[in-house]
């Protein structure tokens, strides 16, 4: 039976707790007790997603826009199950493939070839699948003999190429993208973009967070705009992007 791939968020509330940052050191406590410094100002919990309702069905390409701090990345990480919600329901059905920070988690002591294996395993591939794809990934990176050198000997551009090539080699039913659509130097960006568009085509659902409005309009079939953790607009890319631009200029 075919899976009903979807993302359902109902009345979701998510908070960033402040107690972690409100903890004081012994020095601060002694100094404020002796009135040598003001007691530390206490932070409040940040209500990052507020009663958020969102239903995304198979076939949709959802763009998420909004100003910095509006809750876009938080929404993505909540869908991915990384951030816990305080109330509401998060019902996600489908194999998630999240591309948040593609260069994070590389083992610098290991070679590029070894890192292809590590990264692809992290993304849920099996060793057999990776072995079958390794040469294609290496060819795509254009790293040549550097692939058998430790990643710590790579330039930052080379690391990005490797990270991008591996991350885009494994497809998922639900693709979550945070600003990543292409990476690398000018010559690499064109083919990286093509590869990413192919990956998007393979996914049943895509949720794409970005400030790049032109790309949002190009790849998405629906866009939501977030403001202070709430969805304030939901509709076609053209309509919502133009609404967002007006809001920005207001």
């Amino acid at each position: 039976m075919k899976k009903n791939i979807h993302i359902y968020l109902d009345k979701v509330n998510m908070f960033y707790p402040s107690n972690i940052y409100n903890a004081t050191t012994l020095k601060q406590e002694v100094f404020s007790f002796l009135k040598l410094q003001k007691p530390k100002a206490l932070l409040k919990d940040v209500h990052a997603l507020k009663d958020l309702n969102l239903h995304v069905e198979a076939g949709e390409r959802l763009g998420v826009i909004g100003h910095n701090g509006s809750g876009k990345s938080t929404l993505l990480k909540t869908i991915a199950g990384i951030y816990p919600v305080v109330s509401g329901t998060v019902d996600v059905c489908g194999r998630i493939k999240a591309l948040f920070d593609i260069v994070l988690g590389f083992d610098l002591e290991s070679t590029g070839r070894e890192n292809i294996m590590y990264r692809a395993l992290l993304l849920g591939a099996t060793p057999k699948e990776i072995e079958a794809k390794t040469q294609e990934i290496i060819d795509f990176t254009e790293l040549g003999e550097f692939i058998d050198f430790p990643v710590k000997s790579y330039s930052s551009g080379m690391v990005v190429r490797l990270a991008f090539a591996v991350s885009t080699s494994i497809s998922g039913e639900i693709l979550l993208l945070d600003e990543v659509i292409a990476a690398g130097d000018v010559s690499f960006i064109k083919k990286a973009r093509k590869r990413m568009l192919e990956l998007i085509d393979k996914a049943e659902i895509m949720v794409f967070v970005s400030h790049d409005l032109a790309t949002i309009e190009e790849v998405c079939t629906r866009v939501i705009m977030l403001n202070h953790g709430r969805i304030v607009a939901d509709g076609s890319p053209k309509e919502i992007v133009s609404y967002y631009k007006k809001e920005m200029n207001a």
Binding site: D107, Y118, L122, G124
Partner: protein
């Protein structure tokens, strides 16, 4: 609780390739570009026990040949304890880049550290076996026969300890500074290097010695390998009870803290 445990195991099974790969990577990185590589796992405790054996046998007038395997077994077990409660403190912190990207069960990262610690311990046991083969070759038979159960008990001890340490360290950053002091105290009041007769000088101290779970866990190695007899039922009972308590504590911490741990990283 059973269904939750079952679900967690299913989630770990899904990421088994990634988990095993992390184990491999840890073992590889430990001796990367070292000439002797994994041999150090055997040579280091042997060298340390030779030094400590000579120093302590002179200081306490112990017979060196009998005391050396005693010290060596103490070193091997203590590496396990400090691996779980000391090194285990970083089991979650050092994997924060993965935790921030993937919704994998956090137990997986403490499991990874525990497997690495247990593999290192098993390899290091070769040093004790080598010593015993020279001194009392027949003891190897009893030792080998009892080792599978011992290693299972030790594994659950290490996993529980690593989980407690991992969560505590993420939440309380004083932990890495504090735990060596606590372990040092525990070392002094346990028969890691000191022999039983030293604890007999005071009744209270000797009662502690008899009830100290470390004494009994050490006996799981010492009785078969050094004395050539199977560990007593009492040794097994105290060890299993102690490990069960550690594991229940670890399970409770994992249940309570897993959800919000991401905010502490």
């Amino acid at each position: 609780m059973v269904s939750k445990l079952k679900r967690d195991w299913q989630r770990i099974y899904v990421v088994r390739y990634f988990l095993l790969n992390l184990v491999k990577l840890d073992l590889k990185n430990k001796y990367r570009r070292s000439k002797l590589g994994i041999l150090w796992t055997v040579l280091y405790p042997m060298g340390l026990s030779a030094i400590m054996g000579v120093v302590f046998s002179v200081a306490f007038n112990y017979e060196l040949a009998g005391y050396m395997p005693y010290v060596l077994s103490g070193i091997l077990f203590w590496d396990l304890v400090s691996g779980a409660f000391g090194g285990g403190g970083y089991s979650l912190l050092s994997n924060d880049s993965y935790i921030r990207q993937c919704n994998n069960p956090l137990m997986m990262y403490t499991l990874k550290s525990s497997i690495v610690t247990i593999i290192n311990f098993t390899i290091a046991m070769v040093s004790l076996c080598a010593w015993i083969l020279v001194q009392d070759p027949l003891n190897i038979l009893v030792g080998t026969a009892s080792f599978p159960i011992t290693i299972i008990i030790f594994f659950f001890f290490v996993w529980g300890g690593t989980t407690i340490a991992g969560y505590t360290c993420v939440q309380y950053r004083d932990y890495p500074m504090m735990i060596p002091l606590i372990l040092q105290v525990l070392w002094y009041i346990s028969p890691v290097f000191f022999q039983e007769d030293l604890f007999k000088s005071n009744k209270l101290v000797y009662t502690w010695f008899q009830w100290n779970p470390i004494t009994h866990m050490l006996n799981l190695i010492r009785a078969p390998f050094i004395n050539g007899v199977a560990p007593s039922v009492w040794d097994y009972a105290i060890s299993i009870l102690f490990v069960a308590l550690i594991d229940i504590w670890a399970y409770y911490i994992n249940e309570k803290k897993e959800r919000d741990l991401i905010f502490y990283l």
